[in-house]
């Protein structure tokens, strides 16, 4: 069974491809949704197409499935349209699936289920990455605020941090917000 993954995020496509390979599918291709991707897809003649629901190129793909002579075969979206819970799970995970020939749904359903799990895993990975990135930049902001306090008020590092923390508690704000305000004020006053 030939599966094409249309995706412009290298990481998500890899996460999905690995899962499919582990499940024993080996005819897998990744196509970015740009330029002449429709013609490429036609030449590949896939049995199943998996695509990110957030991709703006979905309308282009659907148009192709409607008019393409090469792919003028029965089309099913989300594999079995009567299975509402599966469809809901697919939409929530952000995956859409197209069967581009008359494949039996029993053969395709596991592919879609796996894709949903993998898309969810990717979303989790993505949000963890974002959190890590935010934490990193939060730390930088706090460090900069500490060094302003240390140089302008002659405080030690632990005292500078303690001052930031107690101000934050008094104002009911996050330390990073107080630190940011301090940096902004210091920039305005030409401090650092």
């Amino acid at each position: 069974m030939r599966i094409v993954i249309i995706d412009d995020s290298g990481l998500r496509a890899t996460v999905l491809e690995e899962g499919l390979r582990e499940a024993g599918y080996d005819d897998i291709h990744i196509v970015p949704p740009r330029g002449g991707f429709v013609a490429r897809l036609e030449r590949m003649a896939p049995d199943v197409v998996l695509m990110d629901l957030g991709s703006p190129s979905r309308d282009t793909l659907e148009e192709m499935l409607t008019v393409s002579r090469a792919l003028a075969r029965p089309i099913a979206m989300f594999v079995d349209q009567s299975d509402d819970s599966m469809i809901g799970a697919a939409i929530d995970a952000g995956v859409s699936a197209y069967v581009v020939d008359g494949l039996r749904k029993e053969r395709v359903k596991p592919v879609l289920e796996l894709a949903v799990r993998r898309f969810n895993a990717f979303a989790k990975l993505q949000s963890e990455l974002d959190e890590a990135r935010t934490a990193l930049s939060d730390r930088k902001i706090i460090d900069r605020a500490k060094s302003i306090l240390m140089s302008q008020r002659g405080l030690s590092e632990p005292d500078a941090y303690a001052l930031l923390r107690s101000s934050a508690m008094n104002q009911g704000k996050k330390i990073v917000d107080v630190a940011q305000a301090l940096i902004t004020a210091s920039d305005l006053l030409g401090g650092m």
Partner: protein, 400 residues
């Protein structure tokens, strides 16, 4: 108590009424909290609505008719009790192609019939079929472009290539030379003009002076089961629409829509459609087009059944659906003037007495029968002078 309502939209200027209903408190005053879900393709917006992930959607009017008729993936009965806008589209082409048209851009835009004929001649001069981007098979843009091309004997399925691509990718596709032009809602035409990649060839409002554009779509069973929520939302939208049409608010509105979670384009570009100051070419001063985009005046939100039938007639004309009495009835039933009247019965919004009218028959502002207050309809002529009588669809189809 506040009811949460999820509504999907695409990043376009004509999503303005939904954004304003949320941001300016009109929805809140009706006890509704709007969760606006930004979506980048019509296919995904349709799926979110059809499969119940959202309760309503900012939708292309022809797409709502197509989904109801079972022409677009999963069939589902949809209902549109409210029109979010009329007009707002622009056809732009690469300058190299537009050179074969009338060099006086203002004259070109004022005479869509002449420009269509010039365009037809230009196709012969071009080294290959022009590739024109449309936002969806079932879009008012596609329907209007086909109508315009055919007026000059151009067969849209044979003489040009119509390529479907989302509005947000149009500029990139022009730059890459994948398309020679496109028709889309604002601010995407203006964005391509500003990038020096294209110039205006036709304006939607000059093709059909009051062309149906986006509607607010619901799944019919949900609409029937939640009358109070629907009525409250419609009342909020009517007030938001009046706010959007007010010139004093246009700058604020452009700024609001420019934010990343709405249209995510410069407010200066968005302002053009709102204020009707359209720059047709990068080196030209804006032309004044006061009817470029309407949200409220002339009962814009009222969903005339005759307009759903006009859309249907065009789907039949281009062989996207077989004509039958049953299909026509299903298409007409997508627009729900009954719900609009029910929701606004106690307001001071003028309500038309009829649900159908001749489309394309009004040449100059016309006062019409209304349940309350004064209602004046603006000119709604088609550029070719045809009139659509919803009672005589067969005759209309035979006239092409």
């Amino acid at each position: 108590m506040t009811t949460d309502l999820r509504i999907a939209f695409l990043p376009l200027t004509d999503a303005a009424v939904l954004a304003v209903a949320r941001e300016k408190g009109f929805a809140e005053e009706e006890g509704l909290h709007l969760d606006l879900v930004r979506t980048t393709s019509w296919a995904t917006l349709r799926d979110r609505l059809v499969f119940g992930q959202v309760q309503a959607a900012h939708m292309l009017a022809p797409l709502a008719v197509a989904v109801t008729l079972g022409l677009s993936q999963q069939a589902a009965p949809l209902s549109a009790p409210y029109k979010l806008n009329v007009n707002g589209n622009m056809l732009v082409m690469a300058s190299a192609f537009a050179q074969a048209l009338d060099p006086d851009v203002a004259a070109r835009l004022d005479d869509p019939l002449g420009t269509a004929h010039d365009f037809a001649a230009a196709i012969g001069l071009w080294k290959r079929k022009p590739v024109i981007g449309v936002v969806h098979r079932f879009s008012s843009h596609s329907v209007m472009l086909r109508y315009w091309l055919a007026s000059a004997g151009v067969d849209p399925d044979r003489d040009v290539v119509l390529r479907v691509l989302p509005p947000s990718l149009t500029t990139e596709a022009m730059r890459a030379g994948e398309i020679d032009g496109f028709i889309a809602g604002e601010p995407w035409g203006s964005a391509a003009v500003d990038a020096g990649l294209a110039e205006a060839v036709a304006i939607g409002e000059r093709i059909w002076r009051r062309g149906v554009e986006k509607i607010l779509a619901f799944r019919t069973p949900w609409l029937e089961e939640n009358p109070e929520v629907v009525d409250g939302l419609l009342r909020a939208l009517v007030r938001a629409a009046a706010w959007c049409d007010e010139p004093a608010n246009h700058e604020t509105l452009a700024h609001l829509l420019s934010q990343p979670h709405y249209v995510d384009q410069p407010s200066e570009l968005i302002l053009r459609a709102l204020s009707g100051g359209i720059a047709p070419r990068i080196d030209m001063a804006p032309l004044s087009m006061p009817d470029f985009l309407l949200f409220s005046r002339e009962a814009t939100p009222f969903p005339w059944r005759s307009q759903a039938l006009w859309i249907y007639s065009q789907l039949v004309r281009w062989k996207m659906v077989e004509h039958s009495a049953d299909n026509a009835a299903k298409a007409a039933a997508v627009f729900r003037p009954d719900i609009f009247r029910r929701a606004l019965a106690d307001s001071d919004v003028p309500l038309p007495g009829a649900s159908m009218k001749l489309e394309g028959a009004v040449a100059s502002p016309l006062a019409v029968g209304s349940k309350r207050g004064e209602l004046t309809l603006g000119p709604d002529r088609f550029f070719d002078g045809r009139v659509f009588d919803p009672e005589r669809i067969e005759d209309f189809l035979a006239s092409f």
